[in-house]
């Protein structure tokens, strides 16, 4: 079913996965460790801002690898 469509997309999946894995390789960090940190961070953010869309990403920035957190606070925390 729409296998040609799916096929066209798998290259994008591969590219994303490779970019991520290479960033970890270059930084000599095991990905699972950052993944766990990311999940913990997201959990904490969720606790304070339940309805936000937070994104925490690892990126290659020139020589260094950076963990960026973009925490969008679309909604002010509800007053009681």
């Amino acid at each position: 079913m729409f296998s040609w469509l799916k096929r066209g997309r798998t290259k994008e999946t591969l590219k994303d996965r490779l970019e991520l894995v290479l960033a970890y390789d270059r930084a000599k960090i095991p990905p699972g460790k950052v993944e766990a940190l990311r999940n913990d961070l997201l959990e904490v953010v969720q606790r304070y801002f339940p309805s936000t869309n937070s994104k925490i990403e690892i990126e290659q920035d020139g020589e260094s690898v950076v963990l960026t957190a973009s925490i969008a606070i679309d909604e002010p925390p509800k007053k009681r």
């Binding site: 290259k11 591969l14 996965r17 991520l20 095991p30 699972g32 993944e35 766990a36």
Partner: protein, 266 residues
């Protein structure tokens, strides 16, 4: 195959060892075995990405060998297939970090303590230290070979080395076979390979774009229904002792093939 510990090897690089390890591992787990696949390619880890488990690596084989973590911390459980585990190689260390004797005790521990039914070891290319370490704990071997000259020659060399060691069950996995080319007499057939190498094939896997797509998304082909996926699944069944006939791959349906058939050729 009776061997619980099987090394997947080839001599030559790029013939499909990692693809075979991932797929046979997933297939055996699907068939009910508790399986661990081990990446021994220290410094050039790949089995994790082929299996789509790369983001979950925290500890690795070398950490276990050096006592930096417990085995259970390094084993990654595949959430898609029950009873399938990956033990990743270290990406940051060099090859000397792996001692064959220490590796043997680790593998024995996986059998005795973690109760795995089957352990598949993805060997690095070559015939040097990395290969010897990978083969050290193995009683069985899957020799992956492509139907082309350099791969067959390297496979013969590897088979010789395995026979000189303690590996007693050696089987051939013929990978990237192109039925059309075999039919037209331009590629070695399964029978030719048996004649040349004297080792029986246990699997014949066609060249299949589905393998590339499955690697792109990090999902072993045996979880789908591509020709290569089905061929790996059949191979796993044969490893478990089932009699599985080899399928007839789709004949050349092109105009020339039809013409040839009409005139009794091909």
């Amino acid at each position: 195959m009776d061997a619980k510990v099987i090394v997947v090897t080839s001599g030559k690089g790029g013939v499909g060892k990692t693809t075979t390890t991932a797929n046979i591992g997933a297939a055996l787990a699907k068939l009910g075995e508790k399986v661990v696949v081990i990446d021994v390619d220290v410094g050039l880890r790949n089995l994790d990405v082929v299996m789509g488990l790369e983001s979950r690596v925290v500890f690795d084989l070398v950490d276990v060998l050096e006592g930096k973590c417990r085995m259970s911390q390094a084993l990654i459980r595949d959430k898609r297939v029950e009873n399938l585990y990956l033990l990743p190689a270290s990406q940051t260390r060099d090859k000397d970090a792996l001692d064959p004797e220490v590796f043997k005790t680790v593998v024995q521990g996986l059998l005795d303590e973690e109760k795995f039914d089957r352990i598949l070891i993805d060997s690095p290319a070559g015939i040097e230290a990395g290969f010897r370490t990978a083969a050290a704990p193995a009683k069985g071997a899957l020799v992956v070979v492509n139907p082309e000259v350099s791969s067959v020659r390297d496979a013969d060399r590897i088979i010789g080395l395995l026979e000189a060691g303690q590996v007693s069950e050696i089987r051939l996995v013929i990978n990237r076979l192109r039925p059309k080319m075999v039919a037209s007499g331009n590629m070695l057939s399964e029978g030719d390979m048996l004649d040349i190498l004297g080792v029986k094939p246990i699997g014949i896997v066609p060249e299949d774009e589905g393998i590339i797509v499955s690697t792109n998304v990090g999902e072993p082909a045996v979880l789908g229904t591509t020709q290569a996926g089905l061929a790996f699944m059949a191979t796993a069944r044969r490893i478990r002792g089932e009699e599985v006939p080899y399928p007839k791959y789709e004949e050349d349906k092109g105009f020339w093939a039809a013409l040839k058939r009409m005139f009794g050729g091909g």
